[in-house]
Symmetry: C2
Subunit: 200 residues, 2 copies
């Protein structure tokens, strides 16, 4: 025996593809599962099965939810004329936690990454264009990350909408709250300078 | 919505307990699974189920295998008089890969860690004592890690066997092959010095 049984090898290989798990931690995970009793393992299997069966993608904003449309899209008190465009469902939660935003969302399901073969047609961009066709939308906030992929995707969508009267905004770039100017990187500081706001 | 649906929260909490996955990577893992199609997810579930059903623990050495006893214990060509005692099944594979060792193994299933409530009676130590009762065993190699837990466990087993004629050895401690003395830590260097071997 100088290699693991097939069942273990397959699962190590599968887990290695999960985000945040390398080959070594995938191996540790398999042995962790082997140490669990049947009941714990059945619970995990049950949870994974439920995940796929119970969690739905909202037809309107493509956020995840147990309902379709999702509670945000169904909420009459939300401002339907403002759409916050984000990359992933996780981003929606982050915005909701600020308790500041009253508009609706549009989840792209990723960002344009040519190197990883993620092209615009794999994202929910045409669905966004479709959604604003009725001219009810006043503002689109392109809330993608301030990095290469996020900026590329934002620029791509901006370009597509250049002849559409809708207002398009990006989140402010600047110093994070609580940070120290001394340790700020130059690009952030330069953005903070460009975006400086009058206080008096 | 300022928190995830219950199904997602439960699975994030479960995955957080897996080795190498923190709360943030557990979250990413759940969203990774949500993006998979039904077939991939069924495959994962199937693989986890198979893992528990097909993988057995060898009655003799407590290594994992698809057979019980495991191929190593069944192999007539192996030297049954030498037992290499290791903490985990993963360690067996590492020894087998050296292609040097011809004896058999004994997997403890962990190391003594009082802080984590792992006491000697949870390890396969009494099974080891039972196994050497027939006096066929000539040497026990205590191949636990050269760290606090590994040394503690080795010392504990050595103490238990102090009146038994069996020879007990530990792996050599010294400089790793390919390393630089300049960067060796003092404890390793001091071990290497103590264990120095005559070459002429």
């Amino acid at each position: 025996m100088n290699q693991y049984p097939e069942q273990i090898k397959i699962l190590i290989e599968k887990f290695s593809r999960w985000p945040g798990l390398g080959p070594k931690s995938a191996e540790r995970t398999v042995f962790y599962l082997l140490k669990q009793n049947k009941q714990s393992l059945d619970e995990i299997i049950n949870n994974i099965t439920k995940l796929k069966n119970d969690i739905k993608i909202c037809d309107q904003c493509f956020n995840i939810s147990t309902n379709n449309p999702c509670p945000i899209c169904q909420d009459q008190k939300r401002d339907n004329s403002t759409i916050c465009v984000v990359a992933e469902p996780q981003d929606v939660l982050v915005f909701e936690k600020t308790d500041e935003y009253r508009g609706v969302y549009h989840v792209l399901g990723g960002l344009i990454m040519p190197a990883q073969n993620i092209t615009p047609d794999q994202l929910k961009i045409k669905e966004l264009l479709e959604r604003i066709k009725d001219n009810q939308t006043k503002e689109i906030i392109l809330a993608t990350n301030p990095d290469l992929e996020g900026e590329t995707t934002a620029m791509y969508i901006t370009e597509l909408l250049k002849n559409n009267p809708v207002k398009i905004t990006r989140l402010a770039k600047g110093l994070p709250i609580g940070s120290t100017i001394e340790y700020a990187d130059e690009i952030t500081l330069s953005s903070a300078l460009k975006g400086r706001q009058q206080v008096k």
